[in-house]
Subunit: 535 residues, 2 copies
């Protein structure tokens, strides 16, 4: 049923797709997460001629984009995607939304029809720009095959421009297949973050310094690079010297965490808790962070989580150098002369393994107790796992990646990408069952690539969060129609079969003791594995 | 972890969500396919107060929108969806794209943040309008709770305005939860199709009549209502009277088909075949159809599938009354006086059951031979099942629904919706394995609702179409990177486990004889079942 070959191509001429591919490689992009279609076949052919580009298939585009997010969070450089026209992009948008909120650099390549075929309005034709803009910081469409080198370079540059984001490059099929003799442009120097507001603006510096010297009543809100080792230690020093509070945002792309690091708490998700916790503040100092707002608006509750009259000062805006701002601040308050603030850093606390009924809390305790050194935790546990973060102070040092944009279905793909970025490190995914169903196809990619990912499914067979939210918005107790939309216990999902069906070994645990044992065994092996924790 | 209830609501005031829900019911929309989130909780509460509205949960939004497509194709009226903000809409867009190409009426309800919370740019905030426009014929955002009745009525009207389409209604959470005393507006009369061009325009009528009287060399291209019983018989009469060819588009939302009906062929998918088949034509007469174009553009091939100089005449444009145009034409050529053209109608041809190796062709033959009366066939077999359509002349009378927009992942949801629309009729899904993975969550909804759907997976463990397309675009033989993106045999998907994991019973067949037997058994039972046909 296939087309006969019209242009036998044993020694193909160099094409626009080759130029694109070579430029991506010369800019340091060497992983292509792909779910291609017909309009991308010449890009695929170019990839065939570039074995340095690693190609990883996702069986659904949400896997591709979510893995690109997880990869860049750990690799600190972008992967490229390869998506098929408007509908392929559409399937990847939800996880691009999460990437956008995490400021993750991604070069998002979307194939389109040949330029001369667009006016035919063939079935797959769609307005790609309109679909791409909401989740992209930059959208560029190829103007000519020879221009694909500069366009690809610009896409990488736009993706990496601090604080990072999604750069969407639209590739018409004829530009991919037409000859292009141009060489890749000379690689550009990587964009550096801008100087922080406290260095660029004297009045801001004075205000921030005065607020921090007030100590309690002022809170540093950390984000971006401030959540890595150096930033955490600087923040701990400043807190010890001045008595300021230190928090991080409710959601972040990546936090370094565990024993020996600052016992950092985050702004609570639940609006009532956030309002209560932040109510004593007179000033919030932002380090690459956004001032906290409610995840949703609720009847009779405010958008801002800060008390009335609380000042907000940006020591570093997103895209500015948060670390440099912290260094400046630590110096200015004399924090660098004091000894290391060990009282603020997490110490090993003997955390007993849980016993008895398997609950969300028991799962978290068992993971904290058994987490190996330098693991990567990918957290989309939603309501089941909200307590893990506080508890994980006492886990071995690890990187913590979480859902950032509220678009559920990011956990399994995120873990897939993180594992691609960090071979040799164990990836542990804490995954709510409802959210897992959105992108369960990621398990197949984990099996295909034999990635070292341990997935833990919190199997409560309900959108537990919606039961809470239904009450929260004042709607009373759920009735028959509501329960039919909140619960999926009938039939129950069998996660062992869903994993095995995709080539991932799996086991089920129904007690804390069983979970402890299967977790210990799973952490001893390499390669993908899934535990269904029935809670 | 949930918000405490701020507004105990035992006898709730009537809200904007109630007004919306009551209006949808009064306009005849009584099925809500949903995947709600927090911002939609008051709509869910309103649904709780309206037991006449049937609520069906999809565990992924692509299931919701694809099922809304399948439902309306069979019910000839829209369902409403309930999606959660921009990312929830994004996940549903691919199947809305297919619905758009099928001219399917859908009332697509998308919840958004409370109006006063949008400026906070909370994590889930996104440009919903930009996402919705490419797949919607109409997008409306609520301006006030009291206005939701008229807005909902307009959404239904826009969805049903011939030829039909997706009407997206954006519902801010505070408009859903705020009081609204207005009653639903008086139901509007359903929009009727416009008079066809052959009735509205004398010159067109003359040209069409002259072309049809030419007989061979002219082709009627049927779409829309012309593909139902009356239209097919009218076209057969015209063909018998004049000798014109009759074809349908490569893809259609719904075709009535099987024994006793016109042996209608369609424009081939493969460009070379389409060009060859249509090359003798001097005139194409469109009845609600679009002139055929290539599904993709290929190097050195044209966009149009018609030979140079072939005239194109629209007897009825999309949205005009194709049936009325056929009646006029049949009358004008004197076709109504002749006897029924039995030679053009499909007769029972003894079709032996296949034997030996299980191939795509064997699967199709077995289905044609065993298909029960008035089944609904949902076809997303992609490359494996292209021959089914021609063969299915000889099957029992059935309705045939297929992927229309090229956005793969529509088969399982489409079947889910068709089964909801037509209880008592067996739904048979012909489903390629690669495409099935996009929306496999539909199987769970089939189990939850105990829908009478038999899913047949063509399990070839490859994107077979891409192997063909890679050759078709002149890219030569696939290399290592290409094969890594085309084949998913390592690991092989186990469709029996993937079905059972979602509560759907399943079996595997590896020979034609085994397939014949399991198909016969599966057709005897009711409720969801899946056969993995290893081809």
């Amino acid at each position: 049923m296939s087309e006969p070959t019209t242009t036998p191509n044993p020694t193909p001429a160099r094409t626009g797709a080759d130029l694109l591919c070579e430029t991506l490689l010369s800019e340091g992009v060497d992983l292509c997460l792909a779910n291609p279609g017909t309009s991308e076949m010449h890009f695929v052919a170019a990839l065939d001629r570039q074995p340095r580009m690693r190609c990883v298939l996702g069986l659904f585009e949400g896997v591709v984009t979510g893995a690109a997010d997880g990869y860049a969070r750990m690799a600190d450089k972008p992967a490229c995607t390869l998506l098929h026209t408007g509908p392929g992009l559409a399937n990847g948008l939800a996880n691009l939304h999460n990437a956008r909120r995490a400021y993750t650099p991604i070069v998002n390549v979307v194939g389109d029809h040949a330029t001369w075929h667009l006016s035919a309005d063939a079935p797959l034709t769609a307005d790609i720009e309109s679909l791409a803009h909401p989740m992209s910081r930059w959208v560029g469409r190829s103007s000519a095959p020879e221009a694909l080198g500069l366009l690809a370079q610009q896409a990488v540059h736009e993706a990496l421009q601090p604080p990072g984001g999604v750069a969407t490059l639209i590739l018409p099929a004829d530009h991919a297949w037409s000859p292009a003799q141009a060489l890749p442009p000379v690689p550009r120097a990587r964009a550096r973050p801008q100087a922080p507001a406290v260095e660029a603006d004297r009045a801001t510096a004075a205000a921030v310094l005065a607020a921090v010297k007030q100590g309690p009543g002022t809170c540093l809100l950390l984000a971006g690079q401030a959540l890595r080792d150096e930033g955490l230690l600087l923040a701990a020093r400043i807190a010890q010297a001045t008595g300021v509070h230190v928090l991080t945002q409710q959601a972040n792309g990546r936090v370094q965490r565990g024993l020996g690091r600052l016992m950092l708490d985050r702004v609570p998700y639940v609006v009532g808790q956030a309002l209560a916790q932040l109510s004593p503040l007179r000033c919030m100092v932002l380090l690459g962070a956004k001032a906290p707002v409610g995840f949703f608006g609720y009847p009779g509750k405010p958008s801002s989580m800060l008390p009335p009259g609380c000042a907000v000062l940006a020591a570093a805006h997103p895209g500015e150098d948060e670390l440099q701002a912290l260094r400046w601040l630590a110096d200015a308050v004399g924090a660098m002369q004091a000894p290391v603030p060990t009282a603020l850093l997490a110490q090993r606390k003997p955390l007993p393994l849980p016993q008895g009924a398997l609950t969300a809390d028991a799962v978290a305790r068992s993971v904290v107790a058994q987490l190996p050194e330098q693991a990567i935790v990918c957290d989309e546990s939603v309501s089941s796992g909200r307590d893990f973060f506080a508890m994980s102070w006492h886990a071995a040092p690890h990187d913590y990646l979480q859902i950032t944009g509220g678009a559920i279905g990011c956990g399994l793909p995120l873990a897939t990408g993180a594992a691609l970025a960090a071979p040799g490190r164990k990836v542990v995914t804490l995954q709510a069952d409802g959210s897992a169903m959105y992108t369960l196809q990621a398990l197949w990619t984990q099996a295909r690539e034999q990635l070292d990912v341990l997935t833990i499914i919190y199997s409560n067979r309900t959108y537990a969060i919606l039961h809470g939210e239904y009450r929260a918005v004042g709607a009373g107790a759920p009735g028959a129609n509501a329960r039919r939309m909140f619960d999926f216990d009938n039939p129950a999902l069998d996660w062992v079969k869903l994993a095995q069906g995709q080539g991932v070994e799996a086991a089920r645990a129904e007690t804390a003791e069983a979970f402890n044992d299967v977790l210990a065994a799973a952490l001893q092996r390499r390669g993908p594995f899934l535990i269904e924790a029935v809670i």
